[in-house]
């Protein structure tokens, strides 16, 4: 019976220990959650403060009692935020579309077709995955400059189109489709192209969606190449726009208006993320592990 007491003690201690550990874990997670979310909170908060209210706060306020939308109006009128937006949209849509076209065809050739030189070509493709963008940007800059394509969409888009990694990802997915399907389609006299569009693409839709979303994120946030290739505001993308706003925008100190612009350009991707967060996270996890 003395033993029995011991067991009860052990039980209680184990429970208390578990509770303490759980509390600690949640505290840690909450702290990081705040670190992640705080900048977002701050930008929305600041964007809702009027310029005069913001300027008079020597000690920053963590809330506002008089929210205003005038900064958003400024963001669209005082700087060409709308045109940055449209530029980015054109750039993103065009780049992603061409990328999909190129990627699907290449992945199909590697996964399905047989032709001499295929294996070598694939190895060359794979080795290209290791090439850092920083090395090739220099020549591309010179090439586009020499072709007189600075400050054009063509110059912006073309070098951003190909991604070896996506070709690889899609090829792996295509290759998982059983050969029998292809032979069955052949027996029914289906052309390769029709097979690609009627069978392979529908089966691999999840991968295609992943690739599309990742490319859209990449395009929307791209900064380096557009910065090199555009110096005419009419072709600025949002990233360059933000940098421009920061350096020459609303008058250097109109921070609420800057924050409104930041909110506006962040919203599309955040909405996209909230809608597709499972797909996006799964896609990045898969891409990350294979890369």
């Amino acid at each position: 019976m003395a033993n029995q007491m011991d067991y009860e003690m052990i039980e209680k201690r184990a429970k208390a220990g578990n509770f303490a550990v759980k509390a600690l874990i949640y505290a840690l997670l909450a702290v990081w959650g705040i670190v992640v979310l705080f900048p977002f909170y701050w930008m929305i908060l600041t964007s809702l403060k009027s310029y005069s209210a913001y300027s008079s706060e020597f000690v920053p306020q963590l809330y506002t009692l008089a929210p205003t939308l005038e900064n958003y109006q400024d963001a669209f009128t005082a700087v060409p935020l709308g045109s940055y937006f449209i530029n980015t949209l054109i750039f993103t849509v065009a780049t992603t579309a061409i990328m999909l076209f190129v990627t699907v065809l290449a992945a199909f050739a590697f996964a399905r077709l047989d032709f001499p030189g295929k294996d070598i070509a694939f190895v060359v493709f794979l080795s290209l995955m290791m090439i850092p963008n920083e090395l090739v940007v220099i020549t591309n800059f010179v090439t586009i400059t020499n072709l007189d394509m600075r400050n054009t969409f063509v110059g912006l888009i073309l070098p951003s189109v190909t991604s070896v990694f996506y070709i690889y990802l899609l090829r792996e997915n295509f290759a998982q489709i059983p050969d029998e399907l292809y032979y069955a389609a052949k027996v029914d006299a289906t052309s390769d192209l029709k097979y690609l569009f009627k069978v392979m693409i529908p089966i691999c839709r999840p991968t295609l969606i992943t690739i599309t979303i990742l490319k859209v994120i990449e395009c929307w946030n791209s900064y380096v190449w557009p910065r090199l290739i555009t110096d005419d505001q009419a072709y600025f993308l949002v990233s360059n726009g933000i940098q421009e706003i920061r350096e020459n925008g609303f008058g250097r100190e109109n921070i609420p208006a800057m924050m409104a612009a930041v909110v506006v350009i962040s919203v599309p991707l955040i909405v996209l993320f909230l809608v597709f967060h499972k797909k996006i996270m799964a896609g990045v996890a898969r891409g990350g592990m294979k890369g």
């Binding site: 033993n3 029995q4 067991y7 052990i10 039980e11 184990a14």
Partner: protein, 367 residues
């Protein structure tokens, strides 16, 4: 160590809205005598693995109590129970060598039980010797065969001298030949260590061959507990009768009427101590004796010669299964060309069960 279960019940919340709880183990009461080898037997999903998890503390029961010896351990976390557990897939740590795997439980000991490295080495070697793998100590699990991995897992479970040893489907990942060998091995190790051992299996042959006691479960309910031969000879209900034995028992629709047991229109045996009623008749395959004027006539399908004995496949209108299988001595003469064959029945191999409750009807059967 004696182990006692009192009204042990485990419910899982059902999935989906308005779903009913799933009862994995229902009101299980049982006392396991010290130093025995117990087989928990049942079809998959019968709650036997849950019972094992409740015993080792990986899951907590919804209600009921568990005792190890005189100590109640119901709410004790797994690590405080002092059980050894051999997982179905062995759960050997792939990055550690065999020696490190076996020593792992010892490194966790605290206080007075704490050991020096040399003591641990010694203990690990002792456990390895018991399962005869001492020459494999520096390999990684991936370099071992299935049977060797199994031995390592057992050594790891035994090294800390557990109060009870639990094995989850210990043989299911082995091929047929190894299975025979390993089950003897388990029996031997259990005899040598005298640790109360409980193992789970869905293979009745495995359970029957090595257990001191078997527990037959289905849908969370314990149907019968007893020595393997007892359970085989006196199944308490139709399920137990059908579950034990290969080939399985042959089940017929029958009736008891006026002291006779009828299958179809034929009176096959005399009955004493049972009221007139509709029954299921279970006849073990070895309960058939072919005789010209036997009581039961069946349609002959084919005869399969299996060496030591002969399997006669027949049909019968009242049979629950499509074919009736009888195992007979290879000395018996059977006319393979005939359309029918007649059997007399060994009363000891015939069981009758109430049609309503499917429970065994205890009565005397004779020719």
């Amino acid at each position: 160590m004696k182990v006692a279960l009192q009204n042990l019940t485990k419910r899982f919340p059902g999935r989906g809205r308005g779903a009913k709880d799933v009862i994995a183990v229902n009101d299980f009461t049982f006392e396991i005598p010290d130093g025995k080898l117990i087989g928990l037997l049942g079809p998959s999903g019968c709650g036997k693995s849950t019972t094992l998890n409740l015993l080792c503390g990986l899951q907590k029961p919804t209600s009921g109590r568990i005792f190890f010896g005189d100590d109640e351990v119901t709410k004790l976390p797994a690590e405080k129970r002092g059980v050894g557990f051999v997982f179905q897939n062995y759960a050997l740590y792939p990055h550690l060598t065999v020696r490190q795997n076996i020593m792992f439980p010892l490194e966790n000991l605290k206080g007075e039980q704490k050991m020096t490295k040399a003591q641990m080495q010694e203990k690990a070697l002792e456990a390895a010797r018991l399962v005869q793998i001492e020459e494999l100590m520096d390999r990684k699990p991936s370099e071992l065969s299935g049977g060797q991995q199994q031995r390592v897992a057992i050594a790891r479970a035994l090294v800390k001298r557990p109060r009870i040893l639990l094995l989850d489907e210990p043989l299911s990942n082995l091929d047929a030949r190894l299975r025979l060998q390993t089950r003897e091995e388990i029996r031997r190790i259990q005899r040598e260590t005298k640790i109360t051992t409980i193992f789970v299996t869905h293979d009745q042959e495995e359970a029957m061959s090595i257990s001191d006691l078997i527990v037959v479960m289905k849908d969370g309910v314990v149907h019968q507990i007893g020595k393997p031969q007892e359970v085989y000879d006196k199944p308490v209900n139709l399920f137990v009768a059908q579950f034990l034995g290969t080939p399985p028992v042959n089940t017929f629709d029958g009736r008891v009427k006026g002291g006779k047991l009828y299958i179809g229109d034929e009176a096959v045996l005399s009955v004493e101590g049972a009221d007139d009623q509709a029954v299921y008749v279970g006849i073990r395959p070895e309960g058939f004796v072919p005789e010209k004027d036997g009581a039961l006539g069946c349609g002959l399908v084919r005869v399969e010669v299996m060496g030591r004995d002969v399997s006669v496949v027949c049909t019968h209108g009242a049979a629950q299964n499509t074919s009736v299988r009888a195992i007979i001595d290879s000395d018996c003469e059977i006319d393979e060309e005939a359309d029918t064959v007649r059997f007399s029945l060994k009363p000891g191999k015939v069981h009758i069960f109430s049609k309503e409750t499917q429970q065994r009807i205890d009565c005397r059967l004779f020719i």
